[in-house]
């Protein structure tokens, strides 16, 4: 069985992977009809890490990835929006994983939806109007679809990397 023993090593690899996905996403020229709707490829890595390790690792990876991607491809606003969405969606996903009643696709769908909801809440605070709430149905559906796509892909990836073990504890390594 193959193990990624050093936490720093696998965390670096995963951060790089998530960043690359963020970059690839900026290359996709397709506009999905409404502003702000994107696939969220980087969340593929987040979902896989969430399943392979625990929510703490996923949260750390998510925050690091958002801040780095924000500095490289975005601006301060995109960092704030993404952080709100990322943290809320991770909280929801971690909760759903813990209940054990949903498959990867379901967890990811909820994550996609809550990601958009989190961003919308921040938008309401920043723009100081609840009028942006009219955008909610669009964001719910788009979050559902993109979350489902990411979840299905993540499920397939997880099936194939079952033998790969991310989780290592310091105690294990010292033995």
């Amino acid at each position: 069985m193959f193990k990624l023993r050093s936490r720093a090593a696998y965390f670096g690899v995963l951060t790089a992977l998530a960043l690359i996905f963020s970059y690839v996403e900026t290359l996709i020229p397709i506009q999905f009809g409404a502003p702000g709707i994107k696939l969220g490829l980087a969340n593929l890595v987040i979902v896989i890490v969430l399943y392979k390790t625990d929510w703490k690792e996923a949260l750390l990876l998510s925050v690091v990835r958002i801040v780095l991607a924000g500095f490289i491809f975005g601006n301060l606003f995109s960092i704030i929006y993404s952080l709100a969405g990322g943290i809320l969606s991770l909280a929801v996903m971690a909760f759903l994983v813990r209940t054990g009643r949903f498959s990867v696709a379901g967890v990811s769908m909820a994550g996609g939806v809550s990601h958009n909801v989190g961003q919308l809440i921040v938008a309401m605070v920043i723009v100081e109007t609840y009028q942006v709430g009219y955008y909610l149905p669009v964001l719910l559906i788009s979050g559902l679809l993109t979350g489902a796509v990411i979840g299905i892909v993540a499920g397939e990836v997880l099936k194939r990397i079952r033998s790969l073990e991310f989780k290592t504890t310091v105690k294990e390594e010292n033995r």
């Binding site: 702000g36 606003f77 498959s103 149905p137 719910l140």
Partner: protein, 118 residues
């Protein structure tokens, strides 16, 4: 996919549909008004649902009829505003440049969406 996933998806779609339906029905009875300004200063605000005739400083005459507003008469030579089609939707306006009269439609709810995110 598990059964719970589908239930979750259905629930989210239902919520979205419910919000959409709510918006659709609440928007139809949104009250629209026309605001008239002369030389940048507010002249008055009039309800579009009430049929009325508004005399604007003896230079223009605005008629509100059947939920829309049109300029009926103007003392200016070009008559652009008179030939302008009637306005009824939020954001539409009739502008009479020579008399500096602006007639614009706005809904009672402030429509102040502005994009600041990428």
């Amino acid at each position: 996919m598990k059964k719970n996933d589908l239930i979750l998806a259905a629930a989210i779609i239902l919520i979205a549909a419910a919000i959409l339906a709510f918006q659709f029905f609440s928007q139809s009875d949104g009250e629209h008004r026309v605001e008239v300004t002369v030389d940048g200063e507010s002249f008055g605000t009039y309800d579009l649902s009430e049929d009325q005739t508004v005399e604007i400083n003896d230079t223009n005459r605005l008629i509100i009829e059947g939920g829309e507003a049109r300029m009926e008469w103007a003392d200016c030579p070009d008559q652009v505003c008179v030939n302008h089609r009637a306005v009824e939707r939020d954001g539409e306006s009739i502008i009479c440049l020579p008399n500096k009269v602006v007639v614009s439609v706005e809904s009672s709810e402030a429509n102040e969406l502005d994009g600041i995110a990428q």
